[in-house]
Assembly symmetry: C2
Homo-oligomer: 216 residues x 2
């Protein structure tokens, strides 16, 4: 019975890591699609989101099945419930990458990212990819230090997000309203993606230490 | 044992209904704060969000405790797991109302909502309040028909959201970039709030029918 339970947990953990891999691919592709106004790439990112959704649903079904069959308590129970939350966060990260690709598609054949925004979006994409890569290794290795380091990555993302807002509102933005709307949404999607990565990291910290850091 | 379990479920259900009440108050206040540039009201909405957060954490603790003590299976298990998801959706609705209040605060003493946007924001607020009120009665009464009706409310919100985007990008927007950024975010927050209300409704449909409608 115990062995079967830990086999289930291993499978759940592997599926979570696979979700981080897909969420990373989606983010990487979405950033490129945005920067290069690459319509076929944007379309493929949008279509691929259903893979993450399907994995999330399967993981939820498996978790409920484990709860019903194995009736875990204490730490074991905490693991299953936390895995379900992380699955939901990763599914949402996939959605946010899809939303970025949708901005690229909506603006095609124009590029949604004006030259003035370009280097900030490049950086946001890099921070986002770094964060999702960390969530994968954090889940696989129950690595609390790396999980906590996600908080400072998130601070960096918040600064980039703030920078976009300053560009839009404090300086003499002369790239039109449409580009301002795109920039507002794009910055928000990156920032939310980073927030979710932090929540996944906190889930692992909670599993290992039994203490959940409150959402700020 | 069974009686104790159903008492727990009743408490969880009551807490969810209380969360809908708080999420509705927050939405109502946030919309007024936005339209009237009412700083004290915005501040109070922002501060009150911690009540919803605390209720959500308490509900999660109680749910995990119920899983551990009662070891529910089948429908009973589904109820507890679904309640946790709904708690997370309602907590997020509170956050989104807070974000609206933050826009009002950021723009004070100016009004974040330009006259041209006013009637659309009034309507978005009305649809949002109607939806959260429905989620409360849907949870309390396990009312599938009303839960399904949330989907058409959400269509109405999507149309309003689309209308804002058309105003911003298709017509001759001459209210400045700052107002365009505010309008983009405000419309997005209302739209996400409605999406979450739909998810809460789907949770109830799932509980009653055993079938979960896939996220579109």
């Amino acid at each position: 019975m115990r062995d079967s339970f830990h086999k289930d947990l291993d499978t759940i953990s592997e599926q979570l890591v696979e979700m981080t891999r897909l969420a990373r691919l989606a983010m990487s592709g979405a950033t490129t699609a945005l920067l290069e106004a690459d319509l076929p790439l944007a379309e493929s990112i949008i279509a691929a989101d259903q893979q993450i959704d399907a994995l999330s649903r399967e993981l939820d079904r498996r978790s409920v099945d484990v709860l019903a069959r194995q009736q875990p308590v204490a730490t074991d129970l905490r693991m299953v419930v936390t895995a379900m939350r992380m699955s939901s966060d990763l599914e949402r990260m996939g959605d946010l990458a899809k939303h970025l690709a949708e901005v690229a598609r909506r603006r095609y054949p124009d590029c949604a990212i004006k030259p003035v925004m370009r280097s900030t979006v490049v950086q946001m994409g890099q921070v986002a990819e770094r964060m999702v890569a960390k969530t994968g290794s954090v889940i696989a290795g129950h690595d609390v230090d790396t999980a906590l380091a996600l908080e400072s990555d998130d601070d960096e993302m918040d600064r980039l997000h703030e920078h976009v807002f300053n560009m839009l509102t404090n300086s003499n933005w002369n790239h039109g309203t449409e580009a301002a709307v795109d920039a507002t949404l794009v910055a928000r999607y990156y920032e939310r993606y980073a927030d979710r990565a932090v929540l996944v990291g906190r889930g692992v910290v909670y599993l290992v230490t039994g203490r959940f850091k409150q959402q700020s």
